[in-house]
Amino acid sequence: MDIIIIGLLLGGTYALMAMGLQLQYGVARIMNLANGEMLVAGAFGTFWFYSATKFSPLISLAVIVPLAFAANWAIYRVLITPLVRRAKSQGQLEVDSILATFGLSFIFVGGLLALFGGDYLSYSYLARPIFILGQPYGLNRVTAFIGALALCAGLYIWLHKTRAGLALRAVAVSPSAAGLVSINVPRASALAFALGGAVTAAGGSLLSIFLTFDASLGVVFTLKALVIVIMGGVSDIRGAIVAAFILGLAETIVASLVDPGLTLAAAYVLFIVILLIKPEGLFGRRSS
């Protein structure tokens, strides 16, 4: 039982890493290699907020989320839009966005380094056990898990119950068709990109209560998020969420029952097997 709970908690952690990228890639079609750096920026923001004010790190979300949203909106408008305009095909946009966001990730790392230094940053918050069914779990992890669930549910409901959400989903399925039914595709893409950035930063903020960060750590999160998003299938946010939980459970099961040394290996085996069976990911649709 406790293996399942630990697995779910880890799955929540992974969902926080991957949801933002899912929005950015699934809807806006931008393979954002600077996604992990945005997550680290969120974590650093919370660290800074917590050490300065001593308020709960959760309150910092109220500041970080709008800031990240605005910053990502600006990034999309200034840096990405020219690429989208000049791209003749999806492939061209993919190559250009890989190159551009790779550069962007360097700028982020350099910026974080200049602002915060290269040191490890971490703080202790809610690092006490909470007992579920008689077994202890980190209260901070449980808190982050609840945050992840809230984010997942919020995003899902927003995407499925509101007009703006519908527009985003339409763009995710087919940008050209969405344009035909008078959806403002550039605006929807910018919205998805900005929202994705905000979700990622919120994820970083929540993760910072139990993970230790340094300025160069972003790439680790980018890689994990890429794997999760692809495993889930790029065009559906449920895919990323389900994939995150599958990975969390699988890693925990392997770590507890087989050998912790093989956890990440197991995760990648799972990823590879899923792609071999279903090359478009769990929730992916076969493109013509």
Binding site: Y25, M31, L79, P82, L83, R86, G91, E94, V95, D96, I98, L99, A100, F102, G103, L104, S105, F106, I107, F108, V109, G110, G111, L113, A114, V219, L223, L226, V227, V229, I230, V234, D259, G261, L262, L264, A265, Y268, V269, F271, I272, L275, L276, P279, E280, G281
Partner: protein, 350 residues
């Protein structure tokens, strides 16, 4: 892909054209001879580098040579097929660990051979398994693959309980090292060039343009792709084996660094993947820019590299190949204009 033979004759014109081209390509044309000669001269000049500098310039030369080899071999597969592979590090690491594991047991050339075979076998396995995956799924798949290999190697090292394989202490001067790499890169170039004008290369060009047409021409697309992937990956493994002695110490995080894969992809894309010399013109300016920023702005290196990167993406949209071809087109345009003017003038006198 299996129905290739049954449709072999549905596109007779394209097929006949293909055979014609193939026959022509059996002999070297004048331009090709000239290009080969120029290539040989450039390589010979480049080989003289250690005579001028054994220090920093040489290590810069080593960087350029190795990345030229890696990027060209990457493009060999990814250029024509449009499969962006992030698995370079997996094969590079395999090569490195082969040398690290056997350096005290077997002679070095044998190890390079083993590394090549190991890389090829592994690539064949992967290649056959991954044919169904394409586009961005393949990109991340290859990345996952590299990480998987790294995880398994790290775990294996723990289980086997040996750490002696980490040290690769071989005496070799930088010049010898440079020449080895140069030979490696030249081989990559020659093989790429040869494949480009062979039946296989021709098949790949058709696949790249339209896979359906390729199938209808009777091309076994699966075999062509896997063959290329194997060749390309084998080169990456050899590169790893060659570099190991220079690093002296091999650890999983460094040998399988995903950053290496990204670097190779980025350099190739910056150059241009549809010309044999494309990666080369990506690698050289990229390495020099990288060095320039590292040397001049040591405390803001990362930030400025990022800025430089964005500038390249926005202002050189078609890679360096695009830039050069634009320039040469414009120049030949000017020449043609001048020549016709001159002829118009001079023609009257004759």
């Amino acid at each position: 892909m299996s129905n290739a033979d049954t449709h072999g004759d549905t596109k007779p014109t394209a097929f006949a054209q293909a055979m014609l081209d193939l026959r022509e390509s059996a002999v070297l044309s004048g331009t090709e001879k000239r290009n080969l000669a120029i290539c040989a001269i450039v390589a010979a000049l480049w080989a003289l580098l250690p005579l001028f500098s054994t220090g920093y310039i040489l290590s810069l030369g080593i960087s350029i040579t190795i990345f030229a080899g890696l990027a060209t071999s990457w493009t060999l597969f990814s250029g024509p097929t449009n499969y962006i592979s992030l698995a370079t590090a997996a094969f590079f690491g395999i090569g490195m660990y082969t040398v690290a594991g056997g350096v005290n047991l077997l002679p070095y050339p044998v190890l390079i051979l083993i590394a090549a075979v190991a890389g090829a076998l592994f690539a064949a396995l992967i290649g056959l398994a991954t044919l169904r995956i394409s586009g961005v799924y393949f990109v991340i798949f290859s990345l996952g693959l590299a990480e998987l290999v790294r995880q398994v190697v790290s775990w294996g090292q723990h289980v086997m309980g040996t750490s002696s394989g980490l040290y690769v202490l071989v005496d070799r001067s930088d010049s010898v090292f440079f020449w080895q790499l140069l030979v490696f890169t030249l081989v990559v170039f020659l093989v790429s060039w040869w494949i480009g004008r062979s039946r296989l290369g021709f098949a790949l060009r058709i696949i790249g343009n339209d896979e359906v047409v390729a199938v209808h021409c009777g091309i076994n697309t699966a075999r062509a792709k896997v063959t290329l992937f194997i060749i390309s990956s084998t080169f990456a493994a050899i590169a790893g084996a060659l570099v190991a002695p220079r690093w002296s110490y091999v650890e999983p995080t460094l040998a399988f660094s995903p950053f290496l894969s990204f670097q190779v992809v980025i350099m190739s894309l910056l150059g241009g993947v549809h010309r044999l010399w494309g990666p080369l013109v990506g690698v050289i300016p990229f390495t020099i820019m990288w060095e320039f920023i590292s040397a001049k702005f040591p405390s803001q290196t990362t930030l400025l590299l990022g800025v430089a990167f964005l500038l390249i993406v926005y202002f050189i949209p078609h890679g360096f190949v695009g830039l050069i071809e634009d320039f040469s087109r414009r120049r030949s345009g000017i020449w043609a204009a001048l020549r016709s003017k001159w002829q118009a003038k001079g023609g009257g006198h004759e």
